[in-house]
């Protein structure tokens, strides 16, 4: 498991993994889109708009997962003084920001026919918007310091402070009375979703995960190269 903290070992494994990951992600995406557009049933209340779920839910999960990964890696970087944590932090932030943006846009496209409005100020939506702004601040911080050694540590501290938002995003639907529905799929109880809708959701989740991993690996490799050549 040393490739998770060692840049050279990561590079070696990434060279092997990159092409298969790329191909798998394309296949999974095509399969998932086929399932979600043609091979899954309409909802009895929402009609065809339920298909937005197959993009909305995976991107929301991955937005949270990316921030969790960044938090873990900033702990690794700050506490154990391993610079690979900062490399991952710098590289992964735009990926998470894009996933959050996809989640927000698809959600508001879904909200217009269902709730009758593009945006409501309930707890889930607001906390996700704050998550997006936190991602943006991380990206801007990465661009605005001159000294790299200061920048990466300050960004890691900011990521740790901003991780206060994560449980608020996750549990906002349970703590407050929101218009956004509570989680349908949870670990503790049997999922109350039909298998015919569960299947495309799982396939799309894996497809999004693979796409995110491919882009993240590419960005981490670029970051390692730019640090080796001492650019900025």
């Amino acid at each position: 498991m040393k490739f998770l903290v060692n840049p050279n070992k990561f590079n070696n494994i990434a060279d092997v993994l990159l092409k298969p990951l790329f191909i798998i992600s394309i296949i999974l995406l095509i399969l998932g889109l086929l399932f979600s557009f043609y091979l899954s049933p309409d909802d009895y209340q929402q009609g065809s708009t339920v298909r937005i779920m197959y993009v909305h839910v995976p991107s929301a999960w991955l937005a949270l997962l990316t921030y969790v990964i960044m938090t873990l890696y900033s702990i690794v970087g700050l506490a154990f003084k391993i610079p690979f944590g900062f490399i991952v932090n710098t590289a992964v932030a735009p990926v998470g920001a894009i996933f959050t943006l996809i989640c927000i846009i698809s959600g508001s496209l879904w909200g217009k026919p269902m709730w009758g409005t593009w945006w409501v100020w309930d707890a889930r939506l607001t906390s996700v918007a704050i998550l997006f702004i936190v991602y943006l601040i991380i990206i801007f911080m990465n661009l605005s310091f001159e000294n790299r050694f200061v920048r990466e540590k300050v960004v890691a501290i900011f990521v740790l402070v901003g991780s206060v938002n994560l449980p608020i995003v996750k549990f906002s639907v349970d703590w407050w009375n929101t218009l956004h529905q509570p989680a349908t799929i949870s670990k503790l109880s049997k999922p109350n979703i039909d298998p015919s809708m569960m299947m495309p959701l799982i396939i799309m989740t894996f497809a999004f995960m693979m796409i995110g991993m491919t882009i993240a690996i590419l960005r981490i490799k670029t970051e390692i190269i730019s640090r080796k050549s001492n650019l900025n």
């Binding site: 936190v134 601040i137 605005s144 001159e146 000294n147 200061v150 300050v154 501290i157 740790l160 402070v161």
Partner: protein, 224 residues
């Protein structure tokens, strides 16, 4: 121990002298606060009904914005003229410096706002009951704002390219404080639970502040 308290006393005496000679800075902040109230009233009209709905929100927004204006006074001046490193050499740890600075910011920057709130509430036609709640919520909320300001000001000590980032960090983390403060003022019962929530936020932020700003101060002083 006595030497330590003497040092802290001299620290606050120095802060008092500095803030007294630069008091026009703080007065400019308060001027910004009042002029923005005028602009708000000119932009949506002076009717009492709209004022009674919007006044609390306006006051809290402007207090937040005008207290973020003074963020660069927090550490930057002492950092530039080398006083921070002198304090550290005299036996103040980075964490202690951040705690002392936060309390000094609360005393010398936020207390003048606290005094000017009753005058502003006359302009905005706020009733006495709401004024008391506003003062309580701002007394707790301004300490939260000071702690957040300490974190973001110490983060941006070596940031020469993007000055506005510090204000954005304070504003984005002060969202829960603003939500619960305005909720406290507009609610008609269960004040206790909302005040408890505000106190909880204050304790969390006060606990995070020394670690985060101490680490950032150390980074900035070592890499300057």
């Amino acid at each position: 121990m006595a030497r330590f308290f003497l040092k802290v006393l001299f620290f606050y005496f120095r802060e008092y002298k500095l803030n007294l000679s630069g008091f026009h800075d703080i007065l400019t902040n308060i001027l910004f606060f009042f002029i923005s109230i005028f602009i708000f009233i000119f932009s949506f009209g002076p009717e009492k009904e709209t004022l009674s709905i919007l006044s609390i929100g306006i006051l809290w927004t402007l207090l937040l914005l005008s207290s973020t204006l003074s963020l660069r006074k927090f550490y930057q001046e002492d950092f530039d003229n080398g006083n921070l490193i002198l304090m550290h050499l005299n036996g103040f740890s980075y964490e202690l410096i951040s705690i002392l600075k936060t309390i000094s910011h609360f005393i010398f920057v936020q207390i003048p706002f606290l005094i000017s709130i009753p005058i502003a509430s006359l302009l905005l036609d706020i009733t006495y009951d709401k004024l008391v709640l506003l003062l309580i919520s701002f007394l707790i909320g301004s300490l939260i704002l000071s702690c957040l300001g300490s974190i973001s000001a110490s983060m941006n000590l070596l940031n020469n390219r993007n000055y506005l980032l510090g204000s954005v960090i304070v504003i984005i983390f002060s969202v829960p404080a603003v939500i619960f403060s305005v909720g406290l003022i507009n609610s008609n019962e269960n004040y206790d639970s909302l005040i408890n929530i505000l106190f909880g936020i204050l304790l969390i932020v006060f606990a995070i502040n020394p670690w985060a700003s101490g680490a950032c101060l150390k980074l900035a002083l070592q890499n300057n």
